[in-house]
């Protein structure tokens, strides 16, 4: 259950950013690489516990998957790896090997875990600049 450690880091990383914004946080969009060994359900549950008593209290965690991407230094292949899937056993796992020449590959995408954006419920007409990125009405 290391999802609690992750949710705790998630909440504590967002709190300083929220001080620069007005309005209630409605949704937190999290990008999660497919190689991460984290349960979406456990992470959402952990977030619901860790957010209590913080400005994130009314927020829902939305987890968006990031597909793995590999680079082969031997043949120059860049793209998605093949997957080993077993529907009966409920898994589909990227094979970290070059789909073209079967050599070892570098992973360039698929291990990330970051907050991509937040949705804030603001009073009409308000707009805020952010320290970490641009703000836009959604």
């Amino acid at each position: 259950m290391h999802e609690y450690s992750v949710a705790s880091e998630l909440v504590s990383s967002l709190l300083p950013v929220l001080k620069q914004h007005h309005g209630a946080v409605k949704r937190v969009f999290l990008k999660k690489g497919e190689l991460r060994i984290l349960s979406d359900r456990a992470l959402a549950n952990a977030f619901d516990v860790m957010k209590q008593g913080t400005p994130l209290e009314g927020a829902t965690l939305c987890i968006e998957a990031v597909a793995a991407h590999v680079v082969c230094d031997a043949c120059g292949f860049e793209g998605a790896p093949e997957h080993l899937s077993d529907e009966a056993m409920h898994f589909s796992v990227p094979i970290l090997s070059c789909p073209r020449c079967a050599r070892d590959v570098r992973v360039t995408q698929g291990r990330e875990l970051f907050v991509d954006r937040l949705t804030l419920d603001v009073q009409s007409g308000e707009e805020h600049e952010t320290a970490s990125g641009s703000a836009a009405h959604g």
Binding site: E9, V17, I37, I95, L96, S97, L120, G133, A135
Partner: protein, 220 residues
């Protein structure tokens, strides 16, 4: 509604920075560090004892960090083998993290340690997302956990560079075919190394030493 975009810094960036700091320290001090993770009862401690023995026979200086929820049984075992050891109780935490390791390392005479084995909490899943800054990670499983172990945890094995399949002596008793585990692993991780051991009876230890590129007495 109003969307605020982020710069995309990893939530675990702090963990990665701490792991990098450990890595830099190990490199600066000439310490070769290995993280050993795996399920409860897979034989992590016995395997590390065997590695410590072989290095100590060559008068090499070995450190260990023994992590368990509670107690110091593993720590005492390492001390009795001549390792410099630090005991870490993670209490309710299911994994070690780089910060805890950095404090444990402060308690070690690091200038006098050439090889460091960090035994993680017995848990196959959680430690995988928390790098400690070691040069490699070893995942230990045993035949007693069943021959479908790789298929049950495909994501971990797809990313594990060195896997040890231990307790080979018990394979017949628990009706497990080790070759099935080897074949599953080769399918899911074509570039990984799997070493078959029976740590209790000292089988496969030299192969593990060479898989980890550790100095062996019988190699010139």
């Amino acid at each position: 509604m109003h969307d605020v975009r982020f710069s995309g810094e990893d939530i675990l960036a702090r963990q990665l920075e701490l792991a990098q700091a450990n890595h830099d320290l190990f490199r600066a001090k000439g310490v070769r560090a290995f993280s050993v993770m795996g399920a409860i009862g897979s034989g992590k401690t016995t395997l590390i004892e065997r590695l410590v023995d072989r290095l100590r026979q060559q008068d090499l200086h070995v450190g260990t960090i023994a992590a368990d929820s509670a107690g110091d049984d593993d720590h005492r075992r390492f001390l009795s083998r001549g390792a410099r050891s630090v005991n870490v109780n993670t209490q309710d935490d299911c994994h070690l993290d780089a910060h805890t390791v950095s404090h444990a390392v402060e308690s070690l005479p690091i200038d006098d340690v050439g090889f460091l084995f960090i035994e993680n909490v017995g848990n196959l899943i959680c430690p995988a997302d928390f790098p400690l800054g070691t040069e490699s990670e070893v995942v230990v499983i045993s035949v007693t956990e069943g021959d479908d172990m790789v298929r049950k945890h495909p994501k971990i094995f797809a990313q594990s560079d060195v896997v040890v399949l231990n307790k080979l002596d018990l394979a017949d008793a628990v009706d497990v075919d080790p070759q099935r585990i080897v074949a599953d692993y080769a399918e899911i991780n074509p570039h990984g190394k799997i070493v078959l051991t029976d740590a209790k009876h000292e089988r496969g230890i030299d192969e593990l030493m060479s898989a980890l590129d550790l100095p062996c007495t019988n190699t010139p």
